[in-house]
Symmetry: C2
Subunit: 280 residues, 2 copies
């Protein structure tokens, strides 16, 4: 037996999340991957994933692992699996892992990125990948509020109610922010700053506003923690909460105090850390 | 009666093209727009579009026009229509046009952009917007071949067979090229050059290769002309045609001599020119 570690990217729009739902017919990433693994190995493999992303959540660096008797050489896994996967799920890397490696239990940290399009008119081409918010957001207030969350805390207020784990203490290593113009042309053609805008690109930029991206790095995330944090910071950005109130919400350890859960479409699992790499 | 000119953006993935197909049930951009116009005006309006984009083709700057008796103030059209349109079709601008303005017949030029992802592994998040070609393309040869097409020519070789118009002479003002790394992180977060890559972005870049974008500006396009030009230039990029052969194909005025039609997903109508603006 050998242990294989795969890195996956997917557009989660068409899927009911990563995990196979027993008795439910919706398409899942795991379901597609199992079908491809069966075609390639002839084995009924049940891969485990680092992050069980919800319906509509995307991934650039999801990690899965499984054991197999297949003797397929390492370099053949990526093309073989991709030949059997749908166009919106792609294996980016295959590695031989040590026996006992487990994509979820061996993970020491993760990075999620959340994207908001903050402008009067929605950018259709960004729609599958960003939360469109037409009212202007105060990004500086959001950044200030986010600083209260950095560090090791009990994040009970930022976990979907009805879910529990051994501990709700997590270390949120950092929130990193980037704000750029939401030019729709960029989606088609990312380019260096200062490049002359192509025809038709510049006009709508004022209407489309900005892309606000926040990258959350933590040693682990509670269920829907990233989305509840973003939903709460957006309340700050809208002026409905003061930044300091986020510290109070954190201290309350009560989900009802935090803001709404941000929509799935804006979220992307970008990276999973394993030893010897660490999230900070 | 007044004449209204709208500028639309849409993700064409889920649509059977712009135009309503009589007796066919597929969703079209025109169909969605007519439903929204009916809800807003109470009138059965049949808008005409500058470019009747095919199934799967996108738009950032499609233009449509129609006459109406509706007294809705100009600034109300965009929010009113967007409230009734699906998330992947957006009205970006509404203008009052002169009587007699016709989105198609009044157009004096158009810009289409075609996007190719040229790398070993497909970038899932680019998939709806780019043609994935895993074999390396010789971009310099493609540029050289493209120069034979610039200028005023009979483009019969680059028109879908079975379609005719009064004249097949068009002036291809320019082909503009841009080649950038196909970092998938950019889709989520376009940023200025030199910005530190975020976690997880840099690793796959070699695998994902490059984005090759070509912007075609012409006084008009024959049916599928942009896609047949791109399909032919890709043959050059693959080394199956020499650049000079493209001049021979042009001179032959025979569709069978040109390359295959490039897939719809890579194409986007980015701009339509009207007087006094001109394509060059």
């Amino acid at each position: 037996m050998r242990t294989i570690k795969l890195t996956l990217a997917y557009n989660g729009t068409a899927y009911a999340g990563y995990q196979l739902q027993s008795g439910r017919p919706e398409r899942t990433i795991q379901g597609e991957l199992e079908k491809a693994l069966f075609k390639v190995t002839g084995e009924r493999i049940r891969p485990v994933a680092a992050g069980r992303t919800d319906a509509g959540v995307h991934a650039l660096g999801q990690v899965v692992s499984f054991s197999t008797r297949a003797s397929l050489p390492l370099q053949a896994w990526v093309p073989a699996l991709n030949a059997h996967l749908p166009a919106d799920v792609v294996v980016r890397r295959a590695e031989e892992a040590a026996e006992g490696f487990h994509a979820r239990f061996s993970a020491v940290g993760k990075v999620y990125r959340y994207l908001i399009q903050n402008g009067r008119t929605p950018a259709v081409l960004w729609r599958p990948f960003a939360w469109w918010i037409p009212v202007p957001l105060e990004v500086e207030a959001m950044k200030e509020a986010g600083r209260y969350l950095e560090g090791e805390h009990d994040f009970s207020s930022f976990r979907a109610s009805g879910f529990s784990t051994k501990t709700s203490v997590r270390r949120l290593v950092s929130l990193r922010w980037r704000v750029v113009p939401a030019g729709e042309g960029d989606l088609f053609l990312p380019g260096p700053a200062g490049t002359a805008p192509s025809a038709g690109e510049s006009e709508g930029e004022g209407e489309l506003g900005r892309l606000i991206a926040v990258e959350l790095t933590a040693d682990g995330f509670l269920y829907q923690m990233a989305r509840i944090i973003v939903g709460t910071l957006v309340e700050v950005g809208r002026g409905r909460l003061r930044p300091q109130e986020v510290a109070e919400i954190l201290a309350a350890k009560d989900r009802r105090r935090a803001g709404p859960t941000a929509p799935a479409c804006g979220l992307c699992l970008v990276k999973v850390f394993y030893e010897p790499e660490r999230p900070c």
